[in-house]
Amino acid sequence: MALLQISEPGASPNPHQRRIAIGIDLGTTHSLVASVRNGVAECLPDGQGRVILPSVVRYVDAQRRQIGFDALENQVADPANTIASVKRLMGRGMADVAHAEKLPYALVDEPGMVKVRTIAGEKSPVEVSGEILATLRFRAEDTFNDDIFGAVITVPAYFDDAQRQATKDAAQLAGLNVLRLINEPTAAAIAYGLDNGSEGVYAVYDLGGGTFDISILRLSAGVFEVLAAGGDSALGGDDYDRALADWLLHESELTIDSMEDQARLLAHARQCKEVLSSEEIVTAEVDLSTGRIDLSLNREQFEAATAALTARTLQAIKKALRDAKLTKDDIKGVVMVGGSTRMPQVRHAVGEFFGQEPLVNLNPDEVVALGAAIQANQLAGNNPDGDLLLLDVIPLSLGIETMGGLVERIVPRNQTIPTAMAQDFTTYKDGQTALALHVVQGERDLVADCRSLARFELRGIPPMAAGVARIRVTFTVDADGLLNVAAREQVSGVEARIDVKPSYGLSDDQIAQMLKDSFSTAQQDMQARALVEARVDADRLLLATRSALAADGGLLTPDERAAIDQAMALTQQALSSTDAAHVEAVSKALAQATEAFAAARMNHGIAQALAGKNIETI
């Protein structure tokens, strides 16, 4: 008997249709978008064939902005409104930004995260990053002439919770469905490892424009297990530029007194740095308002001026190796990632440290985006037989403040995520009915030396003698590396929980407002957008439920199956509705109807994993 496939109006005729999934490397200096096409990951070029998008946004006036190369061209002419290296400001307060006085644009101190003062008003780094992400999203949509199902966005492994959350918010502003945030070195390892069929322990040395990461990974049979991650989220090529700029000023006995000079000098220092990657000597010629720099500079002088920076990266490698309980002899290969690894002194120092030539056969600018695209393709379900599995870690310890300004660590660094860990605390005063919790991240023992993530209160504790209450504080870190904290008094059951989010001052309302204002959505009617999103979500859920039923439908009783079928039918009907709220309501009902099924499938999967193993070992 022939089976007829019936397409409902508005439904996808082919449930196995490929979903467009992209990987985005949101870099300090430049950003890229990649996707898997015909089984191969490739970076998507813009209309002029360029894959790189300079991470530069220029606010021309209140309405207009330039992004990428156009903005970069105007950097020296209009430094105050041209924001480069915004990644260094993500999730950062004024006190955290190193060399704020040397930036060619003006920062505004705001609680939690700085803003940049521009001709178009004060801009949050989240908004600026959102512009870059939206530009890449449009590039991908134009390439495929289709909507994007979802994106994997990379972040430095050493990014803390606030920096990760800020990145996710930026993606939301850009209208992207974030499938996962993954760490840049891990993404590079995917691109590298899958290309080379590598097995064993590898180090990924990732020196970008503004961040440095070192990750130690074990690769085996498609599993990428991060053993330790370390680094410095404020160390990169920019710092080499700055060190060289300082050296040039010092040698020429000049000073800087305007943003224009600052921008011109930094741009020139960067050019000299790039020339010195292939040449032995370069002439530095730059006219400043205070005088002219004109001197020749050789590679040795540049290396001496920046040796301290390279040495800092080696210190971080040693720490990561200790954390992984390995020595450098255990490392089978060292993968170099990030444009700054083009500097010969960096390659040389790393090669000398590990006693082997680092691997540089992949384009260090593209490898992160390519790895992200491979993971995005897998997460979107385009590669059901793929055996890629990422087991990543949290880079920095998480804890809470206790008496005397000390940190009690709850999740130690290098813990595999997702993870949940709990610790019990008690009250210190008789009759105490509230407890203030201060969540921090970092390796130091004093709260003052760690990054403050959030503060919240557990209220309504029944009065008890000091030390009687038992308050269990649970930290949950999800697969994106994002933290959620819950506190519960065990005797009374009083609860408080928080998504660690508002510490830098962007509430959901503010994000909604930015979304409304942002150029990525300005031309669209918000309601139409809501309907489209609700339909896409409903459709996604239907597809997922269908494939789950096809795989494990046998686990259901006829009654359970009937309930799910009914919820699916209602959702399917709702796809042609124009009422976004209705579409959301039936989707929610379908999600609820499948909750028990999801649990049953998981039990089944786990049991099978064990059964398979037992047979193998017999």
Binding site: Q415, Q592, N603, A607
Partner: protein, 171 residues
């Protein structure tokens, strides 16, 4: 299988101290292959939530099983002999004396080399106690005695952490 199963059941291993680390690692990866949220990224919130719960539970069990000290304490707890490390800190005098000697040696160390050789001595002592633990748990099934050994090991582990911190300062 359910979320309430103990770590050994969850990993399909015999409930004993002696474990093959390579087999344990393989089992962990096989379980995460089934349960990791990445596998359910395109499958809606319900599946994500379940995956998160399981994946967290599997990681929790793995952390406990792979660390000999945590594994030993867990076995005692399952057998009804909780270690209660925080409330019960009474230790034999000889053991405390040695701890004090080590602490003094650490404070007096004037370089990484001196610290390294102290670390070696501490490691050796730890290894010996772990062997003792294995015998008490797997052969003699004397959990009460094992609890004492585990407490000693916890002291040594804490000391090792402090020692590593000092080493970091010299590095």
């Amino acid at each position: 299988m359910n979320l309430q199963a103990d770590d050994f059941e969850l990993f399909g291993l015999d409930r004993q101290f002696t474990q093959d680390r390579a087999a344990l690692d393989d089992r962990w990866k096989a379980l995460q292959r089934e349960a990791h949220p990445d596998k359910f990224a395109a499958q809606g919130a319900a599946a994500q939530r379940v995956a998160m719960q399981w994946s967290v539970r599997i990681n929790e069990a793995y952390q406990r099983l792979k660390d000999p000290l945590k594994r030993a304490a867990y076995l005692c707890e399952l057998a009804g002999f909780p270690v209660n490390a925080h409330s019960n800190t009474a230790m034999p005098a000889a053991f405390l004396m040695q701890q004090m000697e080590w602490r003094e040696a650490m404070d007096d160390a004037d370089g990484a080399d001196a610290l390294e050789s102290l670390a070696d001595a501490v490691q050796a002592s730890m290894k010996k106690l772990l062997q003792q633990c294995a015998s008490l748990l797997d052969e003699q099934h004397d959990f009460a005695a094992a609890v004492g050994t585990i407490r000693a090991l916890m002291f040594i582990e804490k000391f090792t952490q402090d020692l590593n911190q000092r080493l970091d300062q010299f590095a």
